[in-house]
Symmetry: C2
Amino acid sequence: MEISPLQAARKAYSPKLPAALRNGASVNVIKGNPLPAFADTEKIAALFPTTSNMPDLTFAAGNGEKLANPINVGVILSGGQAPGGHNVIAGIYDGIKSLNPASKLYGFKGGPSGLVDNEYVEITDDFMDAYRNTGGFDMIGSGRTKLELPEQFDKGAINAQALGISAIVIIGGDDSNTNACLLAEYYKAKNVPIQVVGCPKTIDGDLKNSFIETSFGFDTASKVYSEVIGNIARDANSAKKYWHFIKLMGRSASHITLECVLKTHVNLALISEEVEAKKQTLSEIVDNIAKMVAARSANGENFGVLLIPEGLIEFIPEMKILIAELNDALAKNAEEFAKIVDNADKLAFVTGLLSPASAAVFSSLPDVMRLQLSMDRDPHGNVQVSQIETEKLLAELVKKRLAEMKKAGEFKGKFSALTHFFGYEGRCSAPSNFDADYCYALGYNAAAIIGSGATAYMSYVSGLTKPAADWKAGAVPLTAMMNVERRHGADKPVIRKALVELDGKPFKAYAAVREEWAVKTSFVYPGPIQYFGPAEVCDITTETLRIEHE
Amino acid sequence: MEISPLQAARKAYSPKLPAALRNGASVNVIKGNPLPAFADTEKIAALFPTTSNMPDLTFAAGNGEKLANPINVGVILSGGQAPGGHNVIAGIYDGIKSLNPASKLYGFKGGPSGLVDNEYVEITDDFMDAYRNTGGFDMIGSGRTKLELPEQFDKGAINAQALGISAIVIIGGDDSNTNACLLAEYYKAKNVPIQVVGCPKTIDGDLKNSFIETSFGFDTASKVYSEVIGNIARDANSAKKYWHFIKLMGRSASHITLECVLKTHVNLALISEEVEAKKQTLSEIVDNIAKMVAARSANGENFGVLLIPEGLIEFIPEMKILIAELNDALAKNAEEFAKIVDNADKLAFVTGLLSPASAAVFSSLPDVMRLQLSMDRDPHGNVQVSQIETEKLLAELVKKRLAEMKKAGEFKGKFSALTHFFGYEGRCSAPSNFDADYCYALGYNAAAIIGSGATAYMSYVSGLTKPAADWKAGAVPLTAMMNVERRHGADKPVIRKALVELDGKPFKAYAAVREEWAVKTSFVYPGPIQYFGPAEVCDITTETLRIEHE
């Protein structure tokens, strides 16, 4: 396997650990008070009789004592890629070896299905070393199979126990960690001697709470996006003739978009949570953008950059209703729709199935978008929201609006738009120094949790704006992060997704300056992630964390 | 102006200079033999009576002597942005100050039009320092106005002389440097005491010859693209379910695409020059990709990455003919076409205007593409080739082809494609150490050319795979790089665009391994540009140069 010079140089990097882990993963455990679920306490307690109301754990450095017996551990990468996943595995590996050098780590391949289907690989020194400080999940692969059925849990137990595995670490987002908790409860209730520990992963940044300050990968991914956004902003400011409409990954939460605007100071970041809270219509959003374009144009600046979160469209109330109606109408009339050949006839047919309000919204959209909404459907017949080119839709509608404003004498400039979508560029970047350290610490700490005998906990490391040595290490019960939500018509226990809070410090910090940034060119160009230079360039984490901790 | 921590740290970077310039821009000049134009010698000599058949100049370090009088110089950024433009200006600035500290540098704003319209700014120490080692052309702006008319030259002379300017440096690509030569010839023939010097800029990498080893910006831009291509490749190799079709900027030449595949070892890079030379049809190209997808799928790998140069479509013979016919037919029938309302009717009308061969090609394209080709036209009525989403076209056609192969039992896997276009992300990145040094040296060397009294020369610095101190510095007559080409029905002297040579070393290096890379996953992940780390990570230039110098 040929590797790049940077990858070769990064092999030598030793991730930093919190002081609590400096003598290995055998730690002194300080128990907190029992923590109930943060909402729907009784329901969660009833659903998780053996794993709810457990105390949080805080770790202090041990004396380096080894365990009498080795521990075999299985690790699973679940869901979308995030930078640093391999370092979590490296942390677990080194952590369990510190507990007992004969401990073994098995990687279940291709995500949670690997546990059920018994697809695994034993992780050896050489294999592990080839992946330290690298991006991607290619070491053992990932997958989106949901672990939620007793049959899966039983098969998993058989497969794990055949390998002598007494603990499983699941590296995933809110859903995967919810399922980790179901698995832990199942095993504990049935006295299956397998601990389950979770690690908080997702570039979206929406797995966070009072213990989990950030999910891993968010730092690196938002730095990659900010690099290219900054480059594009500098290009806009040099060429002075284009508006760049940039869509960013992040289906539910707008943390990435918020972080990127805080890093780059571009003219506008739409925040889905605000659009929903203020019940902004598509036409209001378009109006606001058009006014900004006109205001900048009046200053002679016919260029700019704006950021759009991937999931925006679903947060616009009238679009949400339209999409729901489309899903319903097209599911019921699939056959008839399929028979229509001509595109114009298709659109007329679809429009006739909608409520008057939704029909009006639908008719206001450009042709291409209407066809996309009617024809690009997933196997369940649903509109594929992630395929909707919101950036092109907005650029098109703003152009139309500006043409009207021009006629009315409200806009005298030029408008030319270019669109971009960034997502896959950031998920597998080599982790920043922060994510390399944070992930390694999360994994090493997971080994400490395993060593302590606990199950149904999530590994946490906090105080992240301080130097790594000052980070706190501990474990939070998975049930403590849960509430009950209505999903597909049934009550389900879930770890709550953390959306952007409109009264939170990061959003307020943006809200305080956004009017100035909209009109005045205030771009900042972060440049590429640096690994070797001065600390203020290489080791600082996100603006979001900085502002939250201020 | 708030700047990022990286930008602040980069301010401290001192670009390296060749030994010839170590004692300032006052150098010893070694004259070579008179160099005729490399082709059409007599025609060029006739067109450039005072500036053709001049010797190339090689510089050796001087003794640091100052000029008796200061020199005022004007600088112009021409055409598309390229990383390092500000460092060329910094090099000129420091260079003319080394000749005489009272020398002044003026920046003409917004490109060549700044000279004609007398839009300028005096560059002071503070102003210069704010832009050292930064990306973008925002310091003085750029533009695409062509300097080619005597009226423009005359106005420019008046404006320049009002500022006491006796030399103009034009930083641009092949066209801009062609015009720099026209300007130099005009002034010299008329005894206007203004020297003109060119500097080779373009991320496309197509301004190169035996003196100019590479144009500046190519190194940085291709590193930015390779970073994100590598990240996407790692994502593909982790998720194992997508084919990524990535289009890269570079309208005429495929140097960027070739460089990026040499850096990342992704499965396929289409090279426009090869497509043209082999007269490959669109359907052959699609077939080849589909076969690669099927071969990888047979190995269980339903994923991959391929690179497409932006200008590909114009190099496919039948598409070139189709586009020419469309341009012609729609220009002649614009009014009638505009009256047609229904899209299907529009397409039928257009098809009827084409030759049978082109009509067949046109009909084989997806609807969206046919509408794009018929409706998205520039102000001259021409198809906007740069707007054609070739990456989507190919993905769509490959999908169709694979569906046929599936029916025939030749493909049993899955195919799901995602598309990307990278261009604006790379043009304004902060320059790599290489481009920071190279650009500064080119600018400083331009000052040396000015100090030597020469005009109609391009600044060159060569031996670029060696350490900067060992680089050779000199000047090559602009006329020596020219030939005569047919443009818009007339013979024009132009600096020849350097396309990818199919018998050149870089292409041959790729051709030797591409069958393996196509089928076997051999991805290399270059990661982001590094400025501060080990030399093998930070200071190495392109694979193209490395292979050419091997």
